[in-house]
């Protein structure tokens, strides 16, 4: 079954195995197992889709941001997400995937994206909490991917992580400011924290025991740490941040375990997790429909640009 179990035979297979073994990067034109190529395309595409769909929950607040400074920050942040989606599509295209095809898979619901973005952003505090928790969790996931074995993906992740370092900080800074404001604002921050905490923990994926693709991805060095390991790190990093902020994380079982030197925390609602993954999230249909509408409404514009480019080329060639 598994590619790693098969003894390398061809020169390509040997070179690939050696590249992985030596912790070097696989580049697009290298020989690679078909399973590796498919896994990479799927993972990068899902990651790209997540960036693009992830523009919507926060994008909804750009026009309503309560100060001009926050408006500029949020617009720049949502813009970055479009950019990050494009860096990733670019990496997927080095493997022969076609962005138009990937987009069709997204808007036809055939390819997934991070289900965190199927939750609504009810108040402006959600903008801060998304930066703090959702981007914080994303960074925990993404920083190890900067050393992923596929070169274009690793390089895209380096750039993305560097750019995202502002995303988490702007969110936390907004929350700190709001916590210094009115009682109503403090309640908004706590409420948003309550709603986003568990979905953030779900971002790390199913528990290791229930994560069928993980072993292969680890062997190929696409993935560097297990889901549960990253989730634990995120919890350990976030608890003191919540204390500094003055909010309570909504988990009665969350406490420091001196013996382990880590925090214990409660069981995630995996039924809810599976429901949202399967498309039953609060805004799943709406997010996809929004993207599909943009794609359909823009089709005549893209066609016109292609037609104009063809005309211009023809004019140049005929000297007209």
């Amino acid at each position: 079954m598994s590619d790693v179990a098969v003894a390398p035979e061809s020169a390509g297979e040997r070179a690939f195995a050696e590249t992985i073994e030596k912790d070097q990067r696989v580049e697009p034109r290298d020989w690679m197992p078909e399973g590796y190529r498919k896994t990479m395309i799927r993972q990068i595409a899902q990651h790209a889709h997540s960036e693009i769909i992830g523009m919507q929950p926060e994008g909804a607040w750009i026009t309503r941001a309560p100060t001009l400074r926050r408006k500029a920050i949020l617009l720049a942040k949502v813009q970055d997400e479009a950019g990050h989606g494009l860096y990733l599509y670019s990496a997927a295209e080095t493997l022969g995937a076609d962005r138009g095809d990937l987009t069709r898979r997204l808007i036809e619901g055939r390819q997934k994206y991070s289900s965190i973005f199927n939750y609504p952003t009810l108040t402006f505090a959600d903008v801060g909490v998304i930066g703090w928790l959702v981007d914080g969790a994303a960074i925990c996931n993404q920083v190890p991917l900067c050393r992923s074995s596929f070169g274009p993906y690793a390089r895209a992740m380096i750039r993305i992580c560097k750019e995202e370092s502002f995303h988490q900080r702007q969110g936390y800074e907004l929350l700190m400011t709001m916590m210094s404001g009115t009682p109503e604002q403090r309640a908004m921050v706590q409420d948003a924290t309550n709603r986003w905490w568990w979905p953030s923990l779900m971002m790390f994926g199913p528990p290791d025991a229930d994560s069928p693709n993980s072993a292969q991805s680890m062997a190929w060095k696409i993935k560097r740490h297990s889901n549960d390991e990253l989730r634990q790190r995120f919890v350990d990093m976030t608890v003191p941040q919540a204390e500094a902020l003055g909010v309570t994380l909504p988990d009665p079982e969350l406490r420091w375990n001196a013996e382990r030197g880590r925090h214990d925390f409660g069981e995630i609602d995996w039924v809810e997790f599976k429901k949202v993954i399967a498309g039953g999230g609060p805004l799943n249909a709406e997010r996809i429909a929004h993207r599909r509408r943009a794609d359909e409404e823009g089709a005549w514009v893209r066609e016109a640009a292609a037609a104009h480019a063809a005309k211009a080329t023809r004019r140049r060639e005929t000297g007209a």
């Binding site: 070179a15 580049e27 034109r29 290298d30 020989w31 813009q79 970055d80 950019g83 494009l86 860096y87 670019s90 990496a91 295209e93 080095t94 076609d98 962005r99 138009g100 895209a156 750019e163 089709a299 893209r302 066609e303 640009a305 292609a306 037609a307 104009h308 480019a309 063809a310 211009a312």
Partner: protein
């Protein structure tokens, strides 16, 4: 006359010169209908944080590259020509400016 117009925009590779004195470096790719649009898109996508002073865009299908299978024939032969490197030659420390 009625040639088929491809509605999907072609892929372009993007190279950015970070500052004067450095080479243009490949940073990624993007989709655009024509070269002018590709330059605009490259500016908006790859230089949002003062990353560049100059941009090249090249149609991806115009790039000709050596393949991994050429690696040995292309690059191994230069591996033993160590006499091309200055450190190959021993000069006494007492000789200045060399």
């Amino acid at each position: 006359m009625s040639e088929e117009i491809r509605h999907e925009w072609p892929l372009f590779e993007v190279f950015v010169r970070a500052k004067r004195g450095l080479n243009h470096v490949h940073v990624g790719s993007l989709r655009a209908a024509d070269h002018e649009m590709a330059l605009h898109h490259a500016r908006d996508l790859y230089t949002r944080r003062n990353e560049g002073v100059s941009i090249w865009v090249v149609r991806s299908d115009d790039v000709v590259s050596s393949g991994p299978e050429d690696k040995d024939a292309f690059f191994a032969p230069s591996g033993d020509k160590v006499y091309r490197h200055p450190t190959y030659y021993s000069i006494p420390d007492s000789v200045p400016h060399i």
